[in-house]
Symmetry: C2
């Protein structure tokens, strides 16, 4: 297929899922969106890179498409935002295009339909390796986005689901944990339900709890105390997997003690794992001992 | 520098240029934007890939940053849109990061400041080659975006500037044409001034006149007749460069004969090169002979 044929195929997929705020999707120089009233828009973009976020040996094209959108949707969940649309940039060897492109978009659009995300545009290019970059936009009521910077001393700290499963899966390369690693679930529904509890501070755990919680503490100008016995470690994973493993895509959030956060939300367990403290010399303490940040740093 | 240090550097740059509609730029899971009233938003994203859109031997990091934003801004110009903000995804070898990242953003932010574009977010990753993907968003008065699909029979066809300079530059690798190829100028100012003339149909010429005009004709359901003697060929370039060379980033637009399109706009010449006809079996005729499409197709 030529570039024109491939884009025609993607355009048909996009038009099938196009919702009212999208005035124009693929077919022009830009997509056109009419923003809903009284809403802020949030925007995120995330790479999914060959041999870094996936390999062609272990991940199907549909799984790569799913993961590419899931990473960005997880960022929308972190803001308490309702997904609206995405732009998808995909580069790949031209020899692979005819089989890879339709399967990649099939995986991506499957997840997009689950969350009412319109595919509004993107870019397609030939390149020696597979590179995807997905920009995702969602809406929030004005001024109500969850922020990393809104944690307050004495807030409790919560996480959704279990931690360490993705790191375990990456090590084992088999079983449920490996399936979860290859096909992460963004916590959109849980995030939207959490809005009812007056949450103001959240982020997603993509680079590991120790690194991501440290980022939250830095942005909020606070410190955190974690209780290791409370951390919901995934079955067969270790405390180290749960503390430092990346790509769990669970939500990390804080709330004052009186908010009545439920133990299950949208079918996902919610666990209190610690509390926020005034800023100290140490960002995070685990049972009163300093917790080093060992999550993933691209340039460390 | 670690990923945290690099992002800190980029964040300082972003905060310096942050304008009111941007509520939150770098530092959270998503950027937050409060859309202006009664405006549509337009969105585009474009790759700039090593050894495809540039080489590290011929392009400085600042030129690569400039070009990465210029490609997306050119798409905003094509819609008659006023630039608002961008998200920048950059992947590169970690060994290059300390020198490349600051220079890349210096080049990008230079162009961003010229056009009031806020840097609102992005992604940064390590990868064996340099890959940038820039998402750019702008505003248009509701329903007033220029569209590829709005050409009407009997419209005149116009281009801004001269054509073929980028193709010539790529061949010569020296002189003014080569400088222009490395540092393209998006026609934002010309596009904004053209709005006064009731233009409805435009696109940018990024893959060559013959291919891009064919796309416009397909979207509008029309054909086009070009007069070769009228085509504004860049000095020392050939008619073939002007017809089929990519990356000129000039505007291609159509307008009814009575619109009084000026010969110069925002200091850039505007040239009438042909007219739109009812759809025929041939998309484009050059002096009554069919013009084959020879522009750049990534997957041809």
């Amino acid at each position: 297929m030529s570039e024109t044929d491939l884009i025609h195929h993607i355009r048909k997929l996009a038009e099938r899922g196009q919702r009212p705020p999208i005035i124009q999707s693929i077919g022009d120089d830009c997509a056109i969106v009419r923003p809903p009233r009284n809403r802020d828009l949030v925007f995120t973009t995330d790479f999914v890179l060959q041999d870094r976020h996936f390999t062609l040996d272990t991940h199907s094209p549909a799984e790569i498409g799913h993961k590419a959108l899931a990473r960005s949707l997880s960022d929308l969940a972190a803001m308490g935002s309702e997904p609206l649309f995405c732009l998808v940039s995909l580069a790949l060897p031209s020899s692979m295009a005819d089989t890879f492109v339709p399967q990649f978009y099939k995986g991506l659009m499957g997840l997009a339909r689950e969350h009412n995300v319109s595919l509004a545009g993107g870019d397609l290019a030939s390149f020696p390796s597979v590179v995807a970059d997905v920009m995702c936009s969602g809406t929030v009521v004005r001024g109500k986005a969850f922020l990393r910077s809104a944690a307050q001393p004495d807030d409790y700290i919560y996480v959704t689901g279990t931690l360490g499963q993705s790191a375990l899966g990456l090590r084992l390369k088999t079983g449920a944990a490996w399936a979860r690693h290859r096909r992460p679930t963004p916590r959109i529904e849980a995030a939207l339900k959490l809005r009812r509890y007056g949450i103001r501070c959240a982020m997603d755990i993509s680079d590991g709890l120790s690194l991501d919680l440290a980022r939250l503490c830095t942005e909020s100008g606070v410190s955190a105390g974690l209780v290791p016995a409370k951390i919901p470690i995934a079955p067969n994973a270790t405390l180290d997997d749960a503390l430092h493993g990346g790509e769990d895509y669970e939500l990390l959030f804080t709330a004052p003690a009186n908010k009545g956060i439920p133990r299950v939300i949208a079918g996902i367990p919610v666990t209190r794992i610690g509390h926020i403290m005034r800023q100290q010399s140490v960002l995070i303490k685990l049972d009163d001992k300093p917790l080093p940040q060992q999550g993933f740093d691209h340039f460390a």
